[in-house]
Amino acid sequence: MKKTRLDVGFVPLLDAAPLIVAQEMGFAAEEGLTLDFHSAPSWSSARDALSFGKVAAAHMLAPVPVAMALGLGSGPAPLDALSVLSVNGTVVGVSRDLARRMRDAGHAFDFVDARAAGQALIAAAPEPLRIGVPFPFSMHAELVFYWLSALGRPSPQSLSIRTVPPPLMADAIREGEIDAFCVGEPWGSKAVESGMGELLLPGCAIWAFAPEKVLAVRRDWAEARPDLSGRLIRAVWRAGRWLDTADGRSLAAELLSRPAYLGLAPDLVERGLSGRLTIAASGETRTASRFVRFHEGLANFPWRSQAAWIGSQLAARTGLDRSQAMSAAGTVFRSDIYRAALETTTAELPAGSSRVEGSLSSDSRGATARGEAIWLRDDFFDGRTFEPPF
């Protein structure tokens, strides 16, 4: 069978794994697709490559299509999220100087308790606290805002979130431009390796089920090519299922470390995949069991309520109307297209497309549209819940 070639953009990060695995392990081929990868040096260039039609689909920060729907940032053509590529996977780190002050004050760096870590950070940090994130519209930025505002550091007076490209994060700390950072793996581990910082908390300690990256396409493309988008969704869904197996993870570390993808040592890539991270140059390690998820707990389902949460957060800090922002955001996560694509497979699908975010404080068995599945905990560290307007 002649395969259809699709140009796909990605940023060299651990969580580009589902797309790379879909191609390398033959899941794309099963759907008659060949993925031609285009590595992007920055999120804005990945977004533009997609907007201007240089690529058909891309690995994208979940908040980017939402921000575009809200008219924030640049980007000419509206984007939609066909599925969630990964849940969680970010890590918060602090400069060595700040880490030392926190340790001196008695913080244990347990890598679990977001409240204790946040309070220790606030107590030890200068005013304002400056945190580097990779992009203004990113789950990194949203998690940091949510976490520190809940602990009483309202932005922008006492908290400054700065955009720093991950490769330049080390310089930014050295130059005293930032005190802390939130990045995706393997950049957190790289920061530890280069001796510039220590890891404080995995993103999942702030929100246990945060949609991190999405499979993004142009809205007009999704609507004009339902067959192709369906094939792509299925290929990536199977890749995610494979990735959430133990064998899958260690093989994936090898695949991802190739020069064409991440070009980094497999052991560095494996840290995030296994959830066992070295948090300081001294070699101390911590394990986060749900550091990043590619499949488990219906991780790929693009919940409209997730998009609404992002929209609501973005609106709150940019002064937009909150309810308008939530409705606009909800249309961007295409649970309708996702459902249609997986109808013919064994995939479990939820009965509804929106839920109360943050309501599960432990994993539980629950009903899906056709059967049962394990639902993973999705609580926020402060126990608040988010009820979407639809």
Binding site: P41, S42, W43, S44, S45, D48, A49, F52, K54, L72, G73, S74, G75, P76, P134, F135, P136, F137, P156, R162, T163, V164, P165, P166, P167, L168, D171, A172, E175, E177, R317, T318, G319
Partner: protein, 194 residues
């Protein structure tokens, strides 16, 4: 007469920066600032308060500029990537040339067009130069590997140089591979065998 357009060029390489500035000077009268230092880029740009920002598409610092597009950012005017509203294909041409341009909303396309045309033309030339340089480097590397492989064959088999090269070429032809690839494999294998 409207005020001069203020243009910021973000380019750490002084030679490339000079080429871009020259191209802009040739195309019109502008106030051009070059920012070479990437630290605190957003604040540096905000201080100049430019009408247009030009930056290499491959520069990772580009994401920092996105920060300025936030309404609550330090710039009092929003900045947006130039969109094809009137000038057909201009953004696509820019992207193909490897250029990203940020243009303050509300600036008339007639004022921006010559800036972008000049920058696009210059970026195309630079992209070609970059490709040529990479190609030359690669050819040089291959040359070196082939010379080493020839040396290995000459020593191992006691044959002269032209025979060693002929052997490499014949093997490459038989296997349907490039001479450089066969040479590379031989050098690697010799390294492994000690």
């Amino acid at each position: 007469m409207p005020e001069l357009l203020t243009i910021v060029v973000v380019e750490p390489d002084p030679d490339r920066a000079r080429l871009i500035v020259e191209a802009l000077d040739d195309s019109g009268d502008y106030q051009v600032h070059v920012i070479a230092e990437r630290a605190a880029l957003a604040r540096q740009i905000a201080k100049v308060n430019p009408d247009v920002v030009l930056i290499d598409l491959a520069d990772p610092s580009r994401d920092t500029i996105e920060e300025l597009t936030l309404a609550t950012g330090p710039l009092d005017r929003p900045v947006a990537l130039f969109v094809d509203r009137s000038a057909e294909g201009l953004s696509t041409a820019a992207i193909e040339a490897g250029l990203s341009a940020y243009v303050v909303d509300g600036l008339t396309p007639t004022r921006v067009r010559p800036v972008l045309d000049a920058a696009i033309a210059r970026f195309r030339i630079m992209a070609r130069m970059r490709a040529e340089l990479a190609e030359t480097k690669r050819a040089l590397e291959e040359r070196k590997v082939i010379d080493r492989a020839k040396g290995l064959l000459m020593r191992a088999r006691g044959i002269p140089e032209d025979e060693a090269y002929a052997l490499l070429r014949r093997t490459a032809m038989d296997q349907g591979r490039r001479v450089a690839d066969v040479a590379e494999a031989l050098v690697t294998a010799a390294g492994l065998l000690g």
